[in-house]
């Protein structure tokens, strides 16, 4: 698997994501936001956490309109895989690759802690290393992780089995406890929790490892 990790000014989880992907066997290229094209042969684009462009205007809004994001959208439209974690999830909703938006946390506070997640579906390259219903512990670190979408969108996500992860104890007010969701073709994943921060025993938890391993296995010949 060849993965590209996009770096914006203010990204701060780009190296962590690259390390987690490499540990799972991926070849990783870092891509700068001003680049207009992805490297040849990229299977997966990773949009990392952080505070791209200082969260100015809205979290992820400026990044979503950067040159590289046009290539990322084209990659997704061709059926390519894209995963956005935390700020990356915000970028993916701002580009329209995933529905909904991330609002300020209900309690207004930045929250940095390990939370319980329930794996809602194993039907994706990202989640097939888990069983639906598995309970895992993954850290969150965000101020704007309160997922919002209208009732019709939430119902559609539920009907189409596109909710990847829910919070077992909702920390931020997200509708339907949504922590992560999939695109219609199940190849774009956005999630607020950080699996790359639970991918090595020294992190204090390894519940995120299965995500990267499953992804690398699914895309090995992609």
């Amino acid at each position: 698997m060849h993965a590209a990790v996009v770096v914006f000014p203010g990204s701060n989880c780009d190296r962590d994501l690259a390390v987690a992907l490499e540990a799972a066997g991926a070849k990783v290229s870092m891509v700068w936001h001003k680049d207009s094209a992805l490297p040849d042969g990229v299977d997966l684009v990773g949009i990392p956490g952080g505070f791209s462009f200082g969260d100015y205007l809205r979290c992820g809004a400026i990044a979503a309109n950067s040159p590289i994001c046009r290539s990322v959208a084209a990659h997704a439209e061709r059926g390519g895989y894209v995963m956005g974690i935390c700020n990356g999830f915000q970028v993916l909703t701002e580009t329209g690759l995933l529905p909904g938006a991330l609002l300020r946390n209900g309690g207004l506070k930045y929250i940095c802690q390990t939370v319980g997640l329930k794996v809602e579906t194993s039907q994706s390259a990202y989640t097939e290393g888990y069983n639906a219903g598995d309970l895992i512990d993954i850290p969150i670190a965000h101020h704007d992780g309160n997922y919002f979408a209208d009732d019709d969108t939430i119902a559609r996500l539920q009907d189409e089995d596109r909710i990847a992860f829910t919070y077992t104890d909702n920390p931020n007010g997200a509708r339907a406890d949504i922590a992560g969701l999939l695109s219609e073709n199940r190849r774009v994943l956005g999630m607020m929790p950080h699996p790359e921060r639970a991918a090595d025993p020294v992190h204090g938890g390894t519940d995120g490892q299965a995500l990267f391993r499953a992804l690398a296995a699914a895309l090995v010949n992609a």
């Binding site: 701002e94 529905p99 938006a101 300020r104 209900g106 207004l108 919002f148």
Partner: protein
Amino acid sequence: MKARVHVMLKNGVLDPQGEAVRHALGALGFDGVNGVRQGKVIELDLAEGATEADVTAMCEKLLANTVIESYSVEMG
């Protein structure tokens, strides 16, 4: 030419910041504030010839996220 864009969270989208401001006003003794909604104002200094349609396009593309926000444009 100037334009002023007002961006507000849509009705039905919970505004926790507005709610916190409402609580703070109550704590200061300002009674009778039934609700507070917090938005933003963006002022644009535009080249001659820019139209309201141009500003509307800017709102749709970048200045507002129409999933959660509504906007209004004031020209001049």
